[in-house]
């Protein structure tokens, strides 16, 4: 269990698919860390980046900006970035900003 006011990212790599497991609070500070981790995956040649938000209990607009920015960058490079299993809080943030249908992986 991580403290309520912090964020952790664990990474699972299978060939060229990277899964970022984000736990905790994606606030401004967390969004900066998320951006660094997404960039590291892109530099490592990830074809698909899955951002698993099942344990993210807070998602602000700065976090959504990172997701949108690198969704575009990956798409332009014929690659992909997808959000998976958003928590209720993350799903609400994505939904109220109109990103739920387009950024979240359809199962």
């Amino acid at each position: 269990m991580i403290p309520i006011n912090s964020m952790e990212i664990r990474k699972n790599i299978t060939n060229d698919e990277h899964e970022l497991l984000v736990a905790g609070r994606v606030d401004g500070e967390g969004a900066n860390q998320l951006e660094l981790d997404v960039l590291a995956s892109i530099r490592a040649g990830a074809r698909v980046i899955y951002v698993n938000l099942s344990q993210a209990n807070f998602l602000c607009s700065a976090g959504i900006r990172v997701l949108l920015q690198y969704w575009r960058q990956q798409k332009n490079a014929q690659r992909a970035l997808l959000v998976t299993r958003p928590s209720p809080e993350a799903a609400a943030a994505l939904s109220m900003t109109g990103f739920q249908d387009q950024l979240v992986e359809k199962i």
Partner: protein, 134 residues
């Protein structure tokens, strides 16, 4: 709850979050109401930091959170340049991802999670009052 944020840095914001958690617990706020206040504050503090005149970290922000007559009220006062978030145009949520602007979502999120936003310029300060009916 009264709180003065003297620097927009992670340690100060963690202190603010702890104070908000204590307030929510003491007043038996629902998780939804606590989260709404938290998100609205996060977004507004980011905006203050972006629009402030003294650099992104040099701010002094006075925050008051009250619960009265079934209404959660968050008042934020800063002495930066005039900035009225209530006049900010709503984003077009129907655009495809390729055409969506990267910024401008924070105020929309504040409007969505809170029921009312009121702005006034008072004595050289911006005062934003956000209310949520419980």
């Amino acid at each position: 709850m009264n709180f003065v944020l003297k620097k927009n840095c992670p340690a100060e914001k963690r202190r603010l979050l702890s104070a908000l958690e204590t307030f929510a617990r003491d007043h038996s706020l629902s998780a939804e109401a606590r989260h709404a206040a938290d998100l609205a504050l996060e977004e507004h503090l980011t905006n203050i930091s972006s629009h402030g005149s003294s650099g992104p970290e040099e701010v002094e922000v006075h925050i008051r959170v009250e619960l009265r007559d079934g209404i959660l009220q968050v008042e934020v006062r800063d002495d930066g340049p005039p900035f009225d978030p209530t006049t900010h145009p709503a984003p077009d949520l129907t655009l495809p991802l390729e055409q969506r602007p990267v910024g401008g979502l924070g105020i929309h999120m504040m409007r969505t999670v809170m029921d009312e936003l009121h702005y006034r310029r008072e004595g050289g300060s911006n005062v934003l009052v956000m209310r949520k009916r419980l």
